[in-house]
Amino acid sequence: MSRKKRRRDRQQKKVEKRKKKAQTSSRSSRRQAVVDVSTPSVGDKGGADLENARGASKLPSKPTKKTRGPVILKVRNLRTDFHTPNGVVHAVQGMSFDLHKGEILGIVGESGSGKSVTNLSLMGLIRKPGVVTADTLEFDGQFLQNLPDAQMRKIRGKRIAMIFQDPMTSLNPFLTVGDQIAESLELHENMSTEQAIKKATSLLEDVGIPDPAGRVHQYPHEFSGGMRQRVMIAMALACDPEILIADEPTTALDVTIQAQILELLKRLRDQRGMAVILITHDLGVVAGSCDRVIVMYAGRIAEQNETRPIFKNPGHPYTAALLKSIPRIDSSGKGELHPIEGMPPDLSKTLVGCPFEPRCEHREASCKTTIPQLQAHGSTGLKACDVAWNKKG
């Protein structure tokens, strides 16, 4: 216990030192701040200081349990603010995480927790009044922040692709699905229309659409919801991306179709070795599909860990409360559910304590006044909670 405390003190001192350093160096040129990961310039407001947390707890940088691929996407202190007439909404407040090649990383959280905004920020799809800042957004050696639009376009859709939630509205009703898949092939791979349509046909076959040669010339309205989502996936896969971001890919679909799509994503990951970010609010989907999980609350990482410990030994009271609040198909328990009382906080207010404090059943007096930093939990996880509420942890 005391060792832990000393460690935390040391950590805090380090952070303070850095803050001073950052202030005195009076806004070193942006580029520099970008390259030098170890000096996060805006690490104050509870920005999830991943490096620091890991270093302090002597964690191996790569958990050894599963052999994971190299880091393909490195995100440090990502912040997205929306400047609205009613004040600034801090939608993402310092996200830091790594994405490894060949893994499925789940991001879970309730609506408004910043899951989607995080990924739109990564893709450079946030427009005014949104402002994205980050210390590092490194994709395969390239820094994505401040990248000119023209260069970002070469990555977006080609090397990082995205599937959206609603397959009904994400396809253009005026173009055949073949044309829509071919578009990115013609643009990114310089294929002729004929070649591109041929490739589109084989992609439709890959995602399990029967009679692809006939279907490629059909319009979106001729496809069902599940089939349209397959078309979206085929579109995203067209240029063989290294990262696939799937934003609630099955939320609009029925469960039997959801099972088909999740199976497909897993198969494609295995075949192509791509990394997948799976955004969802369904903890069941996470348990069945993801290798690693980030739990978000109010624009921050509440907890991050491999999938099994997230469920078996959660580090953050929010994760535990979420798990307790959902009814399960495999138990006839007629007891009362344990809802999380209250509402998520207003993201336009400046945070002074733990954002979950008002709803937390393990809160202590200090939670109101200190913003918890990410710290080690178990051998593989990180949690943003200062209270030793979980005996196992």
Partner: protein, 345 residues
């Protein structure tokens, strides 16, 4: 701690639905409109609802769950079939009643809607939304009305001081509470809950489920609980009916249905639902159905599920299976089980 809140429903039947059909015509032609077909949204649904019972109605989108509820309540005019409601001591036929003819019965049969954003009038205060049914039926006015509304708000967990506020000032969960208070205002016997929690976040969803469970216990309400989330339905229901393409394919007590499903569709549906436990997920065998739900506008001679069924036989394409008895209160419509007695309503 977790105490059993599942109250035993009585054996008294309060609602009987028999062979309910709701076919929406498909027309063609501009000058001379003629019917060229029909979408069979509800295609021969029969069930009984007991007093104080929660009957879950599950199925995928487009299977006719909501249309069934609306046809029972005569919000649509059902094509054929009978809906009998026990009003006092007498059985009253609802099917074919006009809007005026339904009005005295609407007091007893209420509905809670899915979308708490669209089902509340943005120009009315909470007080007038909840109080409107009381006004229409001349049950209260003035101070008495306000007190009744405040009592209702208290009952569903809303602060009565908010009586003058407008719906946009409330969150999704609170709005659903407003909808529930409105449904309770006339002290109904049966409430049709049409996906009451699917628009809500999980942490809020649990609050509403607990509220519905408590109200049901305190007021001896019967619910027809429509949802596509089978975990939620299992939690709240006494009996569950599974629908596929406008038909009930299996109906049973909650425990029997979830632990011993008979119909291949129920089996596939249950196996497709992810469990929030990675260890169980790793071990589970999933029945992945191929293909999509066929069109409801085509009339089939056989079982509707035949095109996707893993245990399909020749007979399935030529003969429509009927709901047959598997065990006590457990019926399934599948040719795999040809021996049980046909369900009677």
């Amino acid at each position: 701690m977790t105490k059993a809140v599942k109250s035993k429903s009585s054996s008294e039947v309060i609602l009987k639905v028999k062979d309910l059909n709701m076919h929406f015509p498909v027309t063609a032609g501009i000058l001379f409109r003629r019917e060229v077909g029909a979408v069979r949204a509800v295609n021969g649904v029969s069930f009984k609802l007991h007093k104080g019972e929660v009957l879950g109605l599950v199925g995928e989108s487009g299977c006719g769950k909501s249309t069934t509820a609306r046809a029972i309540l005569q919000l649509y005019n059902p094509t054929s079939g009978s809906v009998k409601y026990k009003h006092g001591e007498n059985w009253t036929e609802l099917a074919g009643r006009s809007a005026g003819g339904m009005r005295p019965l609407r007091k007893n049969l209420q509905m809670i809607f899915q979308d708490p954003y669209a089902s509340l009038n943005p120009r009315m205060t909470v007080g007038s939304i909840i109080g409107e049914p009381l006004k229409i039926y001349n049950l209260a006015e003035g101070d008495a009305l306000r007190r009744r509304v405040q009592d209702l708000m208290n009952e569903v967990g809303l602060d009565p001081r908010f009586i003058k506020r407008y719906p946009h000032e409330f969150s999704g969960g609170q709005r659903q509470r407003i909808g529930i208070a409105r449904a309770l205002a006339l002290d109904p016997d049966v409430i049709f809950c049409d996906e009451p929690v699917s628009a809500l976040d999980v942490s809020i969803q649990a609050q509403i489920i607990n509220l519905l469970t408590r109200l049901r216990r305190e007021r001896q309400l019967s619910y027809v609980f429509i949802a596509h989330d089978l975990s939620v339905v299992r939690h709240i229901s006494d009996r569950v009916a599974v629908m596929y393409l406008g038909k009930i394919v299996e109906i049973a007590r909650e425990k029997d249905l979830y632990e011993n499903p008979r119909h291949p569709y129920t089996k596939a549906l249950l196996s497709a639902i992810p469990v929030p436990d990675p260890d169980i997920e790793a071990k589970r065998e999933r029945i992945i159905l191929t293909g999509d739900v066929p069109s409801p506008s085509v009339e089939r001679k056989g079982c509707d599920f035949a095109s996707r069924c893993p245990s399909v036989e020749e007979q399935c394409y030529s003969e429509i299976p009927e709901l047959r008895r598997m065990e006590t209160a457990h019926y399934a419509a599948c040719h795999l089980y040809p021996d049980g007695a046909i369900m009677q309503v």
